[in-house]
């Protein structure tokens, strides 16, 4: 187990920059999730840590030791691949013991490690099978077993659950989380699935276009997204983005949206009156109530029932927004509802650069 330090790590293929100087300090035993859309550089960063991609410039250190020029095998890390990358001609036990054998670990130690790992992952009965004879979830477990038998300094996961169906993914997610709790090993996990990121991470690193957008705890990213990208990427259904103009009225800020409606904000913002902004509001923070309760009157355009609640498609000021409501009685096509916004729940972003703005004072 060890801390991982990444200092202005850059990756370029010829003239194409895929990673523009990443700085990241990962603590000992921390579970960090790199999340972002495909092509954002998250896998490249992981592969640079693993030693499968060269580091164009910058420095990566594992456990205080610079690893830029070390072979993957000398970095003492283990990696779980999206395709599992199990050796098809070896049995489960052979797959798991391969790295130990190469390191000339004594036979008894190998046997003990395999038994322990197989027990932990529920693979006891399968150690003599070949990967071909296993289900997707079992293969996934073998891939994890192969990583844990070595007790490496860090675990790297490259979209390990992408090839599983939804139910199995949920189950494996929990197992990974439990495993991390048991082993307490430093882990870096790459995914494009924001739910996986939210549920697993101690800290999330949101990336886009080769640039780190925000680093923080899952709830941090959810409650205080640093910019429009993070705001739109984290959370499902996605946050509503409403273009507006910032106005100062009686010392407090309001957002003037299409049709001249004014939404009061939580305070005054350090920008001049008339600045173009984007108001972000999560569907679950759009309060929908029966008509006559006060607020903006609007019609329900479409309902998506999820069972737990309903996603209502509304257009209170001409612009389509989504609201999430637990009250099923409101979820009828064509019904009229009243919509209100809690000023404290409105996120304000500068339209110019997409950066988050916080009220002064």
């Amino acid at each position: 187990m060890a801390a991982i330090d990444i200092k202005s790590a850059r990756k370029a293929y010829g003239a194409v920059n895929v990673l523009h100087g990443v700085d990241l300090a990962i603590g000992d035993g921390e579970f960090v999730v790199l999340v972002g859309p495909s092509g954002c550089g998250k896998s490249t960063l992981l592969r640079m840590i693993a030693g499968l991609e060269e580091i164009t410039s910058g420095e990566i250190a594992i456990g205080g030791r610079r690893v830029n020029d070390l072979q993957p095998k000398d970095r003492d890390i283990a990696m779980v691949f999206q395709s599992y990358a199990l050796y098809p001609h070896m049995t489960v036990a052979e797959n798991m013991s391969y790295s130990l054998k190469l390191r000339r670990t004594p036979k008894e130690r190998i046997a003990a490690a395999i038994t322990a790992a197989a027990g932990k992952l529920g693979l006891d009965q399968l150690t003599e099978r070949r990967p071909k004879a296993l289900s997707g979830g079992q293969r996934q477990r073998v891939a994890m077993g192969r990583a844990i038998v070595r007790s490496p300094k860090a675990f790297l996961f490259d979209e390990p659950l992408s090839n599983l169906d939804a139910r199995l993914r949920e189950q494996m997610r929990v197992e990974i989380k439990r495993l991390h709790k048991d082993l307490g090993a430093t882990s870096i996990y790459v995914t494009h699935d924001q739910i996986e990121a939210m549920t697993l991470a101690d800290r999330i690193v949101a990336m886009n276009g080769g640039v780190v957008q925000q680093v923080g705890s899952p709830l941090d990213l959810y409650d205080r997204p640093a910019n429009l990208f993070v705001a739109g990427f984290i959370g499902s259904p996605a946050m509503n983005m409403i273009p507006a103009t910032y106005r100062l009225a009686n010392g407090t800020g309001v957002a003037e949206v299409a049709g001249g409606h004014r939404l009061p904000l939580a305070g005054s913002f350090p920008v001049p009156d008339g600045t173009a902004v984007v108001i972000g509001v999560r569907p679950e923070h759009v309060t929908v109530s029966p008509p006559g309760s006060g607020g903006l009157r609007t019609g329900v355009d479409l309902v998506e029932p999820t069972g737990f609640g309903s996603i209502l498609h509304l257009a209170p000021f001409g612009q389509p927004i989504k609201a999430f409501s637990l009250d099923r009685s409101l979820g009828r096509d064509g019904a009229a509802v009243d919509v209100t916004f809690d000023p404290a729940r409105l996120h304000v972003f500068a339209e110019a650069d997409g950066r988050r703005m916080d009220p002064a004072g």
């Binding site: 693993a50 030693g51 499968l52 072979q71 993957p72 095998k73 890390i77 283990a78 990696m79 691949f81 395709s83 990358a85 050796y87 098809p88 001609h89 391969y98 790295s99 190469l102 390191r103 192969r146």
Partner: protein
Amino acid sequence: MTAFVASRRRPFLQRLADASEPWLYTAPALILIVAVMLVPLVLGVSYAFRDIKLLNPFGGGFVGLKHFEALATDQAFRTALVNTLWWTGASVLIQFVFGLILALLLNQPFRGRAIAQALCFLPWAVPSFLTGLDWAWLFNPVIGPLPHWFVALGLMETPQSILSDPDLAMWGPIAANVWWGIPFFAITLLAALQAIPKDLYEAAAIDGAGPIERFRSITLPFLAPTIAITILLRTVWISNFADLIVVMTNGGPADRTQIVASYIFTTAFRRLDFGYASAIALVLLVLLLAYSMLIVLLRQSLLKRG
């Protein structure tokens, strides 16, 4: 029920048409196979038991196992059999080793790889007779460079053709055959190499396997079924492959390069004894069949393991 009764009462011609329908559909293919493959095969096999000499137009009678009895004591045949083993074994082995090395090199990313791949596969497109002539000339001390290079390297005292040296003659056709056959192994092995998932190598690199260990524990197991089938194909092919020998040495000097295939060729088309030639061919066929069965079984067990 009525349908059943009706069908039993159908006229004979109708029933015949129904029964022969599938056969009629397959007839074109069946006729072609019988005419092109089975008839010549049966005819060829029957020659082995008949006295067919072009110089004796009144022959052609059934002679039973006479040809095979003659074969059993034929010293030239025995020499040819040993030469065939030698020729086939050395050719296949060297072709395979160089083909594998070439495939591994071509599987690496480098600039101009597409052109290099195309160039490496070029020898395969050269007609075998032309290859034989080329190499015969290369080994010729008057017009070819090779003997002079051998002298310069100290391998030879005076420039002379290895094709006329009884101890070395076989290496002439083998060299030509290797040059000509490397692309076959390179193409098939390269295709198999490209089918190996890259992340297996990455996983192995992280697990601590060096290049040699990765080759041993990933590349070889993945290539094994392809290696088995290509070696089988090439072995059968090369042991039947008389072109280069006929062109370069014609079996000489003193039968030192005579293989069974070229012996059959000589017996049939020089001595015009088709009956005896067919008998030799039949023995070769049986030997190759036995060998093929062995390799197919080996490949099955490899695939089952994989």
